[in-house]
Each structure stands twice: as structure tokens, then as C-alpha cells.
């Protein structure tokens, strides 16, 4: 009930009386013409520069479409068919190659054209509204902004347009467009399998069926990788949190001496770039690395420990090393919050005769969980996408014969292997989408239940 009201209010807050339908139904002939010739309405009402800018956008879009756009769109359904051919050139007495179609580029240009057109439609809507607005303002005899005033408003009322233009362009071109392109790959057979790297076709949902089918070779690996990813994320998050918190509490104890020194010892490991410390760990734990060498030398073991060669060992190793990486972060986060727990709570517990374990479970833990749930969720999603630790430590190994995914591969590292090493672009794209789905489910279920999401400005 309350939610519906809030929603209604928000809609009203940004209501715009100048709509495209309004222009279409009630606008005069010039406004209606500016549906076709952008900026006409503005030019007619003395907003010449603004109108010309709209017109320039329209013309450049048209030029683009005629030169490349329509061709790209027309190629999109087939993704190209012309193979590269060798043609004998009599005049030069050599074989010449005719350029064939390259499906990956056709797909990219096709997606880009749709993307550009979509952006154009947004500008078009804006121009129609703007044309309708000046018509109404002129009719009512109200002031119409000059170009200079419009420009000035970019530094005041419309500052967000100025400030957001750059960042949004960056995100659109280098995050959203590539993502869309990659997602479309999931519906093609763009892959080294069957030699489809130059020319490929749409295959609908075939890749998804393949991945989700547990009896298929790839499908079987998918479920095992998914399972390990979830186990990894749970262990990595929970263990880091619990051990980090215990460590923080121990350091924070009243009787612990040299608190700053202990903290420094742990924090110094974060300060070393992660790829450096992980690469070092990897070399230390090799069969001939320093750890095995020393253990063998002092006769503690008979043969080298299989840190990265046995599946179980490798899985435990990456989780333990991740503790080394992660605990200092938890320590940093937790320390401040621990000091914020009201001291009266502990005093009351002490008077009631509670021991350390009881205080921890009845006071510290519930308080920490209450404050740190959002942090835990980000940690969890971060761990599902934890590329560095796995890739740099075990590289996903050990890998079974004929498998593309190793026993410690997460969905993300498998995605990397499938695309960069194996060139199975379509399967990689499917894995990416699957990772997104897993994360989206986790995020939706948990975010919706946290107070910080429900009430963004609650703490103010």
C-alpha cells in the first residue's frame, strides 16, 4: 500500500507534459513535420542552433545508415556466407584472395547499428518533445529559452546532463555494447568446434541446451564447475568472515599488548599487490618449491605434497590461501565496527555471568551480522567472480583428460579458458550468462531483504 503510494509520487515528480503522443495528436503542422525532419519545430520558434543540432544528428544517422547501417542490418540474419576464395589473376599471373565475409565483424556491426539506432530514437523522442514544447510555450506567450540560456542551464538545472554525458558514453560504448555483442554470441555457433571461426550461423538455444544437458560432456563439466563455484564462494566468504572476526576480537581484547603492531603484520599482506603475492604462493607450493623442499629435507614427509596436482588438495589449498588473502580485509572492515558496539552490552553480560563464548554468540555475532550483511553479500558475489585467486594459483588445475574445465576452475576462469585459450566463444558467452543468472538470483534474494536497499536514505 505504502509502496504503491510512493511509486505514484515518484512518477508525478518527474511528469513531463510534453510527450510524443501529445505532439502527434495535438501538435500543429510544424510539430508534426518535425517528427520527420528533426529540429524543425525548434527552428520555427527561433531556437535555430538547437534545431540545427537535432537536424545534424538526423542527417549523420541517415548517412551512416545508408553507407553502412542498412547493409549491416541486412547481413545480420544470415551472418554472411561468402567464403574467402582464391582467384587466378591472369594479368599478374598470381592467385589473389577475394575477401570473404567475416561473421564476427558482421555480428559486431549489426549489433552496433541496432545500438546506434536505439540511441538515435532517444534523441528523436527528445527532439519531438522539444519541438512540441516550444510550440506550446509560444502559444501561451511564455519565454522561450535562447541557445545561450540552454547552454547556461547545463551548469545549473541540467548539470546532471553535462556531468553524466562522458561517463554514460563510456559505459555505453565500452561496457553495454560489448556485453550485448557477447550475449548475442551465445546464440551462434561461433567456435573452434567444427571450424566456425570465420563464418558462423545462428543456432538459437542449442548452446544452452548443450550446457544444461548433464549427459553432454560440456554439460557434465558445467554442473561440476557450478557446484564447486558455489562451494568455493560459501567457504571463502564464511571462513574469511568468521576467522577474520575472531582475529579482530582477539586483537581488540583489553589485555592484548601492541594492538597496532599485530594489525600492521596482517595488513602488510594486503599492501602487496595480489597478483604478486599469489604468484609467490604458487611458486612456493610447487612440487619443487620451497615448502616441499624444506619439508623433505627435514624428513617430515617422504614425497612432495600434491598441492596443485590432486583435486582435493588443490581445492583445500586454494581455500586456505584465500584465507591468507582475505582475512586481513575482514580484519580491516571489522575492527572499526567492533569498537562501535556499545560497551554497556558487554558490561551487562558480565554482570549476568556470561563467559566469552556466550558473549560472542549472543552479542558480538548478532550485532556484526546486522551491520555487515551487505558487505557479506558483496563478498559472496565477489568470490563467485574471484578470477585472480584461482587463475594465478592453480590455473584451474588439475584438469581431467579431455576436459576443458579443471577441478578448481570457477565459472569465470572456465569462461576465460573457453574464450581465450580454446576459442569456444559461443560456449564462453553461455557460461557468462549463466554466471550472471546465478549472481542475479543471489543478489535479488538477499538485497531485497536488507534495510539499506529498502530505505536508501534511511540513515540521513
Amino acid at each position: 500500500m505504502k509502496k504503491a503510494e510512493a511509486k505514484k509520487k515518484r512518477v508525478k515528480e518527474f511528469q513531463d507534459p510534453y510527450t510524443v503522443t501529445g505532439a502527434l495528436v495535438k501538435g500543429n503542422i510544424i510539430t508534426k513535420l518535425s517528427l520527420l525532419i528533426m529540429g524543425l519545430g525548434n527552428i520555427a520558434h527561433k531556437q535555430v542552433i538547437k534545431g540545427l543540432i537535432y537536424l545534424a544528428v538526423e542527417i549523420s544517422w541517415l548517412v551512416y545508415m545508408i553507407q553502412y547501417g542498412f547493409y549491416s542490418m541486412s547481413m545480420l540474419p544470415s551472418l554472411g556466407w561468402r567464403e574467402q576464395q582464391k582467384v587466378w589473376n591472369d594479368a599478374k599471373s598470381i592467385f589473389e584472395y577475394t575477401a570473404g565475409d567475416q561473421s564476427s565483424l558482421i555480428l559486431l556491426y549489426g549489433v552496433a547499428t541496432i545500438f546506434v539506432t536505439f540511441l538515435f530514437i532517444i534523441v528523436w523522442r527528445d527532439s519531438v518533445k522539444s519541438g512540441y514544447k516550444v510550440e506550446l510555450l509560444a502559444k501561451e506567450g511564455k519565454h522561450i529559452n535562447t541557445f545561450k540560456e540552454d547552454f547556461k542551464s547545463l551548469f545549473d538545472k541540467n548539470l546532471h546532463k553535462l556531468l553524466l554525458a562522458g561517463p554514460i558514453m563510456g559505459v555505453l560504448v565500452f561496457t553495454v555494447l560489448p556485453l550485448l555483442y557477447n550475449i548475442t554470441m551465445a546464440f551462434t555457433n561461433y567456435s573452434k568446434i567444427g571450424d566456425k571461426l570465420v563464418l558462423f550461423d545462428w543456432v538459437g538455444l542449442a548452446n544452452f541446451k548443450k550446457i544444461l544437458n548433464i549427459k553432454d560432456g560440456i554439460g557434465g563439466q558445467f554442473y561440476s564447475v557450478l557446484g564447486w563455484t558455489l562451494i568455493w564462494a560459501v567457504f571463502a566468504t564464511v571462513l574469511n568472515y568468521i576467522f577474520g572476526m575472531i582475529l579482530a576480537i582477539v586483537i581488540n581484547r583489553k589485555d592484548t599488548k601492541a594492538k597496532g603492531f599485530w594489525r600492521f603484520c596482517f595488513v602488510i599482506s594486503i599492501a602487496v599487490p595480489q597478483f604478486v603475492s599469489l604468484l609467490i604462493m604458487r611458486t612456493m607450493l610447487q612440487p619443487t618449491g620451497i615448502v616441499n623442499t624444506l619439508l623433505l629435507k627435514y624428513g617430515l614427509i617422504d614425497k612432495a605434497l600434491p598441492f596443485f596436482t590432486s583435486a582435493t588438495w588443490a581445492r583445500v589449498t586454494v581455500i586456505v590461501i584465500n584465507l591468507w588473502v582475505g582475512i586481513p580485509y575482514t580484519l580491516l572492515q571489522v575492527t572499526g565496527i567492533l569498537q562501535n558496539i556499545p560497551a554497556e552490552l558487554y558490561e551487562a553480560a558480565k554482570i549476568d555471568g556470561a563467559n566469552a563464548v556466550q558473549t560472542f554468540f549472543k552479542i558480538t555475532l548478532p550485532y556484526m551480522l546486522f551491520v555487515m550483511t551487505p558487505y557479506l553479500i558483496t563478498q559472496f558475489t565477489g568470490n563467485i567472480n574471484n578470477f585472480n585467486v584461482i587463475f594465478l594459483l592453480s590455473g584451474g588445475n588439475p584438469t581431467g583428460v579431455g576436459d576443458t574445465a579443471g577441478k578448481t576452475d570457477l565459472l569465470v576462469t572456465w569462461l576465460y579458458k573457453l574464450t581465450v585459450d580454446k576459442s569456444y566463444y559461443n560456449l564462453g558467452a553461455v557460461i557468462g550468462i549463466m554466471t550472471f543468472i546465478v549472481l542475479a538470483i543471489v543478489a535479488l534474494v538477499t538485497y531485497r531483504n536488507t534495510t539499506s536497499y529498502k530505505d536508501e536514505e534511511g540513515f540521513m
Partner: protein
Amino acid sequence: MNSARKKVTNVIVHILLAILAFIWVLPVFWVILTSFRGEKGSYVSTFFPKTYTLNNYVKLFTDTSILDFPKMFMNTFIIAIFTCIISTVFVLSVSYCMSRMRFKMRKPYMNIAMILGLFPSFMSMIAVYYILKALNLVNGSMIRLALIIVFSAGSGVGFYVAKGFFDTIPKALDEAAIIDGATKWQTFTKITIPLSKPIIVYTVLTSFMAPWLDFIFAKVICRADATQYTVSIGLWKMLEKEYIDSWYTCFAAGAVVVSVPIAILFLITQKFYVEGMSGAVKG
């Protein structure tokens, strides 16, 4: 009795902390030792080096025939500076808009940013590579520009920390300025920015460090072009089979060279991060 038990607990706790601290410091300590080690190769049988030398550092900076570390260092440095400038401007702009301006696209933008954050970050890497290739940015020294774009273009999505900080600056300050006839641009540059030193330093430092810490994006963009490598790919290369025997100790030296400035920057960042978290104007 009670105080005796307390003493025992205390001793145990301190011993435990010492052991843990030892485990945490050990790898760091070991790299530093290795960087001064006289014996070549990755296979060693003692923890402490038999001979000490500075040659590893000398070789790292003078032997540029196979792996040109000084060049990698300069590459990374240039990329880091530009990335840092662009990212900081982007992040501060977006955060300010999300915190202070109220407009139609605000909520949708924040939701989309959250959704984008759920995709594996390099899922689109291959596509980005194609786009950069179409723009002719993946050959020769243009790779630097490509990497700057890769590191900074998407930064408009990561506005949460800075927005949270701006939220703590009292809105009354803005309103007072507006009553005095200031434009939004003026409140942004004359009021919000000067009050935001901790979060600006934090943003500058984190975006400056990103190119030093990233490994995977640089690897995909640079491919085989060794002249454009960043530090992290260079260090990774030194551990590959064909180089590890002659470059292992240099790897350690390189790791130290990279880690020291990063560690210092990190410790500074931490200070400002904590300040940033505790809000802008107190009281």
C-alpha cells in the same frame, strides 16, 4: 587463581598471534630475501640465501633485451596517470549527480549500474577487443590508449563509495549557497569538492593503482606485443617455463619494486578510506 588463569590465557593468545603474524609475514619476507639472493634459479634448498647480491635489481633495470622491465614500468606509469585522471572525473561527476541531483534517469541508472556489476567483468573482453580493433587501437603504441580506455571507460558504474560520502555532506550547505545565487556547478566545485578531500584522495589512489594490479585485461589487449606490456604481465612472463630459471630472482626484485610504492599508496588510501567512511562535516 583467577589472575593466574588470566595470565595463562594472555600468554597463549600472544603466542597464537605471533604464530599467525609469522605466517602472514613469511611470504612477504621470503620475496624480499629472494630478491637479494645470489644463487640463480627457482629451485633452492635453503630458506635463507647462501649469498647476497644486488645484481637482481641491476639486471632487472639494465637487461632489456628479452624482458624490458623499465619500459613496462613506464608503460604502466603513463597508463596509470591518465586512467587516474579520467576515472576520478567520471566517478566524482556520477557520484555527485546520484547524491545531489534529482532527475528521471537517476533510479534507472543506479539499477542498471548494479545489474552491470553482476556480469563477470571480463565477459565482454573479447568484444571490447574487437571494438578497439575496429577503432584501430590494438597495434603499437595505440595499445596504451586502448588500455587507458579499458581501465577508465567503465568507471562511471563504480560510484557507491563516493556517493555515500557526498550523502553525508549536509544538504543545508548547498541550499545556503543556492540562496546566495550560486549555480549547481558552483556548489559542486566550490562547496562539495573542497569538502571531499578524503574521498577524492581515495578515488585518485584506487584508480591510479588499478593498472598496476590488473593482469587479465592487459594480457588480452596486449596479446603478444611485448613492447607494450604492463608490469604485471612482465612479472607473470618471468615465471613462465622458458624464463623462470634465469629470471626468477629478478621476478622477486620486480615484485619488491612494484610492491613498495603500492604498499605506501595503500596505507595512505586506508587512512583516507576510513576518514571517508566517517563522513565529511562532523557534528
